[in-house]
Amino acid sequence: MKNLKLASVSALTVAAASMASTAQAEDLTLCWAAWDPANALVELSKEFESQSGHNMSFEFIPWPNFADRMLNELNSGGKLCDLLIGDSQWIGGGAENGHYVKLNDFFDKEGISMSDFADATVYAYSTWPKGTPNYYALPAMGDANGWFYRKDWFARDDIKAAFKDATGRELAEPKSQKELLEIAQFFQGREIDGKTVYGASIFTERGSEGITMGVTSALYPWGFKYENTPGSYDMDGAVNSPEAVEALEFYKEFYETATPPGYTNSYMGESLDAFKSGQVAMAMNWFAFFPGLYADPNTGGDKIDFFVNPPQNQAGSTLGGQGISVVAYSDKQDAALEYIKWFANPDVQAKWWSLGGYSAHNSVLNDPGFTDSAPFAGDFLEAMGSVQDFWQEPAYAELLLAMQKRLHDYIVADQGTAQEALDKLVEDWTEVFEDEGKL
């Protein structure tokens, strides 16, 4: 009888323990865009699975549909994602519409300090209202728009000599936007190894955010500002300033004189394809793709090098990257927060960088060996020091689509002048902010 009781107690204990472990183990779904760093995150997350007992699933959406798909999911209160690595511009809507869990109490409780992350990334990816200590995401993936080029072509004596003849200066990484254009124009239509090549592939995509991300890479170095006084929404004179007009005219000239034929609707994928197929001497794209480009057997390795978006009146790069947030509609918020806690760990952040993700953690970025850890690491640090982001307002989609239209109408469709395009943009944005009750 005693043995029976003992056996019963043991059985119950085992059952209870197994039930407890079943109750704790969750199936977490992390949503992000489908691109190279997402694969690195899958690899990284295996460590979390083995440590926590939770299972990780991933929902990766191709970039052109990412915003549509995820914003629909959030707006409908969907439970697909427990964790979301959402674009930086979504933070305002995520916070104000209650899509993201506010993380301040959690950070305080777990001793996660935002001062451990690069200031620019905390400002851009985590805070709403901007610059206030209200955190809705942990910086997950630092990113900016940068450039890469055919180092092997730049090193060839015949090309160097031809460039010197044409421009009077040495062929090297550009130090200004105007030098960048000059180099691109030099390569445009040039015969290299019996093949016609072109200057550079730049962003001209109409449907999502492409042309805006490309043009802001010219606007920011010219000193573009969204408002005359930050937070006042007074845009007239800032958005359509003479510097902004000059930058926009510059980008149009770049598109017309230094890009391959047919690049009227190109974004990340087209830029990578153009470079990898040996069509262009230079290309713009997000730093997130640089590890993959460097590893490419045909155009990577010693054939490629990278440079930060060149300055003009000032240094300036378009911000990419994302923070990781806990979705407010998730039933598994505790497990999702566990993931955030694990991800904030400096060791995990170091591994994240080594796998191809761009850590924003100071322990990684300030490491003395960081700049030598990859050929683009130094450029990444430099870019993150001068990044600027698009509006992060809850109405960002309206603001973005208005800019997409005005820019594409002027640059690709050749309608009107740069001044008219920016004046109309001010009108569009004013209407949006009036609807929002902010003007």
Partner: protein, 315 residues
Amino acid sequence: MSETPVTRAAAATPKRVARRIKGLSDRAIAWIFVAPTIFLLLAINIFPLIWTINLSFTNFKANRIGREVKNVGLRNYERILTDSDIWLNMQATAHFLFWTIFFQVLIGFTLAYLINKKFKGNDLWTTIIVLPMMLSPAVVGNFWKFLYQPQIGLFNYIVAFFTGKDPSSFEMLGSVQLAPWSIVIVDTWMWTPFVMLICLAGLRSIPDYIYEAAEVDRASKLRQFFTITIPMVLPFLMLAVLFRGIENFKMFDLVVQLTGGGPGSTTELTSINLKREAFEKWRTGYASAYAIILFVTVFGLASIYVKALNKVKER
């Protein structure tokens, strides 16, 4: 009493069911059968329409559920009708609509006329011609995008072969002048077979004895064509125009795949613009007003057209 389908059905009805429906009038039974359809129609068509009309007078945004919804009166309608960009979208749609229908009717009728002549391989050619309309518009959009590619696209090479131009010297999808025609070409390629099939049905419905009588009266082939063939095929042609008109007014997938509405807004048809307003900018109230304006336009034009069609049929 002879056995009819009705008496057979009555005999087959279980007694319990028969007892229940005993005493119901024919009209009541008819209503029982029709009611589910009417309910579905109300739930799926009429209610959303009324709801959309209601939303069109507000500033509602579907992505901002907690936001205060204000009645803005006719402001959304006023904004749309006075927006020059929307009128450009309307023009792009009208251009697309007119030229696709024009070419599809012209080529479709010609093909039907030729196919209607008995010749060897007639059936095989009919099958080959109708292949494009069996494909998905998204697939068609994608592969025409490659065909139009200025550096590797077959279309540019064919044009270059006949004109002697450099294939990469023109961009069908990237040029403001050519892009509207590029979408017309693809839609015509895809949907001409549909018009052809309708015309073929019309041509085959003309009895041979009418042509034989005309022969007896020594009417020329040309006269037979204009006094017999065209008038008798006209109702079919008008039906094809109606179908294609309605379809192309709401054209979305094919053009999105091909141009995304670009370059600039050159090929941004009203349906693409409406989708952007409703599901990308989330201006639900504004988009509702936009949808109502489009609905009234299509409904009005279609009603006038159907009246004309009925008159032609009565002749």
